[in-house]
Amino acid sequence: MEPPRPPAPPPPPAPHHDTRGFVRRYIFSTDHKVIGIQYIVTGLLMAIVGAALASLIRLQLGFPDQQWPLLSKLLPAGYQGGVMLPEFYLAVVTMHGTIMVFFFISYVLVSGFGNYLVPLQVGANDMAFPFLNMLSYWIAFLSAAVLIFSFFVTGGAAAAGWTAYPPLSALAAAVPGSQMGQTLWLLSMALFIASFTMSGLNIVATVLSVRAPGLSMMRLPLTVWSYFVSSILGLLAFPPLTAAAVMLLLDRHFGTSFFLPSGLIVANKLVPATGGSPLLWQHLFWFLGHPEVYVLQLPALGIACDIMPAFTRKPVFGYRASVYCLMAVGCLSMIVWGHHMFVSGMSPFSGEYFSLATMTITVPMTIFGVNMLASLWGAKLDLKSPMLFVCGVIALFGSGGLGGLFLGNATADMQLHDTYFVVGHFHMMIGGVTLLSTFAAIYFWFPKMFGRSMNETLAKAHFWLTFAPFFTIFFMQHFLGLQGAPRRYYAFTAYDYLRHTRGQNLVISLAAFLLVSSQFLFLINFVWSLVKGKVAASNPWRATTLEWTLPSPPPHGNFGTAPVVERWAYEYGVPAPEGDFATQTVPSAAVPVTA
């Protein structure tokens, strides 16, 4: 029995004559698609800086006795006699973390893809507040510029770790980076938070108020749900860091003692502060710091869930449960921050509470992870590059997440806190899950964004040469932590008990150089395809969400008249005129609605 003939598709929106000049179109644009691409490009540029910094770290740790005369010439402030200066090492470590977390993953994945996809996937012509959106990008750009500039001030960039614990970050004499570098870091963060707030407000308002007719919340793709929860989380969690940053700036420059106790002696001089508490900073910082990782993770997971069905040709497993899990994780993530502070000197009773609370997060995350895995069950798998990266996401989410069990309970954490176990864990989650999901997203949506396809062979090579070294590096680091190797160490050569980690560090460094080199495959592919890539159709992956009903790239103004949605986002595996799937706008009379 033949499927009924669909009614004639509605005429494409009349291209409205775009009268904007070059500057309004590409520089100060209020079009969410342009802003999204601006964020992505900025984030990728910052990633190059972050990766270069990582290479310097691994050069030092893998080859602690070597000299690098070339680096002395290129970076005279950081290398003397071919040897890396410890003050430079600490600045590099601090800035690597700050850049990768806030200026790479957050810019590309959260603000970049968030801005690009959310209006399209809810059937809107733009974000709720387009002008605010443009402002958010340019403040973000300024924030990045301030941070990069901090490398060049006296004392160099901030060097107290991305966590910036006072008194180290408060006292200029405690470490060179705590001179102007730390102040610029704090100002950069303040700008970042302002930008993120504007972006977050936009995403939430857009999801709640501009959805196309028929697009109920439970018909939204998981991508949109993840950005929705992530944005609300960010809006509520960032302000305490703003408050903390203000207080730290006041301690640094205006003589207050929010975080500085009495009796501090630095450079053989008594510091005049009295009565402050270093722990206060930690509580405020981690109140943001923990939800921040979910702000980054949730969109990564949501995107992975939405890319998958295009290559498995069946719906995601357990859509509803996954939505509830996203919300549960969002809520729970706000009450567990103390697991970063088990040995900080806070009360042991708090330690017991935070252990129990943290363990509860494993439940929704497990269900979500199992849903992702189960979505592969019975699939007709097409292993194109986005799908390869999604498989990597599922894998790293599982293994990285398991490491969280160790760190989330106070007992095990006593041995593992501030060791390479933590470094391995968070890199697997933030570096792995989010990074691979970012690559999946770029390979998947590049055709839509730029109207051209990326080279599939290079993309697949990129996957293999990224996953293998990535897993090697960060899996091995878990065991370095079990051996007791502390983090942020310039070298491990001072300790007998760490002597035998030399070989492991060498292997990790070599894998890291391979990992960094492999990213050139991606960069070359990206740039080349922008210019010479094969022209892409409007729906090359035969996917169901609303952006695929528009041309590639979509016109300014997106849909024109709002599309009418009659089904959820996972109508795969159904007999339909377009093949085995129905986009969300296909009327229910043409193809039955299954959910």
């Binding site: 330690g351 129990l356 069950w377 006593m414 070298a491």
Partner: protein, 267 residues
């Protein structure tokens, strides 16, 4: 054909990763154990390594299988699992994870944590004060009178009087000072009071499974019971500045006689 080969290779990637990872993880990584409460921490770590190891291998093998099978299919299998399957899987695995995580934490972890923190120092515990600074560990013993002398930050001079000892306090006259070297007699509990002069440091004894941040303005305390004699190392585990990586101390557990001799030599 090519599709099947590719599917097999990707499946092999994940399965291979699991097997190699499990092999790598199955070594003994922990530094040798030298404390009583540390046995509880090691039990927790080993429990977690075993359970997460099993989950890790299972998960990756299942992933590999799905990839291998999926790349061989011409059509999808059942499109929708039944609501019942969805709920069973979610509830089943969610509860399993809760049991592993919460169960393990409660059963194994809590008693260790409480024992460690609720432990009151025994009467014969050796009392030590450790004052961390950039980049060394100042160690002080109270001497025969068992009382630490007063200190005053205004009296601190890094060369002459790093602890800021108040010389007018009679209790301080018999205090014993050492630098980067802690020696304790075997068979007694160790009670350490931590101070910091400048930034946050962290008192990390890898072999004793002891880690406690030394926070300026606070006096966190650590109590533990060494179970081995020997010479062990002390590392700083909280970024404290340029020489954080070589802020090394030694922690020696010796016989009571050797300890008394050592103490006399320091005075």
């Amino acid at each position: 054909m090519l599709k099947k080969l590719e599917g097999s290779l990707v499946a092999l990637l994940f399965a291979g990763t699991a097997i190699i990872g499990a092999w790598w993880g199955a070594h003994a990584w922990l530094p040798s154990l030298a404390s009583r409460h540390g046995a509880g921490i090691d039990a927790m770590l080993k429990y977690l390594l075993l359970t997460t190891g099993v989950l890790f291998v299972t998960g990756y093998v299942v992933l590999a299988y799905f990839i291998w099978k999926g790349s061989r299919r011409d059509a999808i299998g059942k499109r929708f699992a039944s609501r019942r399957t969805e709920r069973l899987l979610a509830a089943g695995l969610g509860l399993t994870m809760a049991a592993v995580a919460e169960g393990g934490v409660l059963a194994i972890g809590m008693p260790v944590w409480s024992e460690y923190f609720d432990a009151a120092p025994t009467a014969d515990a050796i009392e030590i004060e450790v004052t961390a600074q950039q980049f060394m560990w100042n160690v002080r013993y109270p001497g025969p009178d068992g009382v630490f002398g007063r200190t005053n930050p205004t009296l601190v001079d890094d060369t002459a009087n790093p602890l800021g000892l108040d010389r007018s306090d009679p209790h301080g006259k018999d205090d014993v000072i050492a630098l980067n070297d802690i020696t304790v007699p075997f068979g007694r509990a160790v009670h350490v009071r931590l101070h910091s002069k400048d930034v946050i440091h962290s008192f990390f004894l890898p072999n004793f499974r002891v880690k406690q941040d030394a926070v300026p303005g606070m006096t966190p305390e650590v109590i533990f019971f060494p179970t081995q004699t020997g010479h062990f190392e002390l590392a700083c585990a909280e970024l404290c500045g340029l020489a954080h990586y070589r802020m090394r101390g030694t922690f020696n557990v010796v016989s009571q006689k050797e300890f008394d001799e050592w103490l006399k030599k320091q005075q």
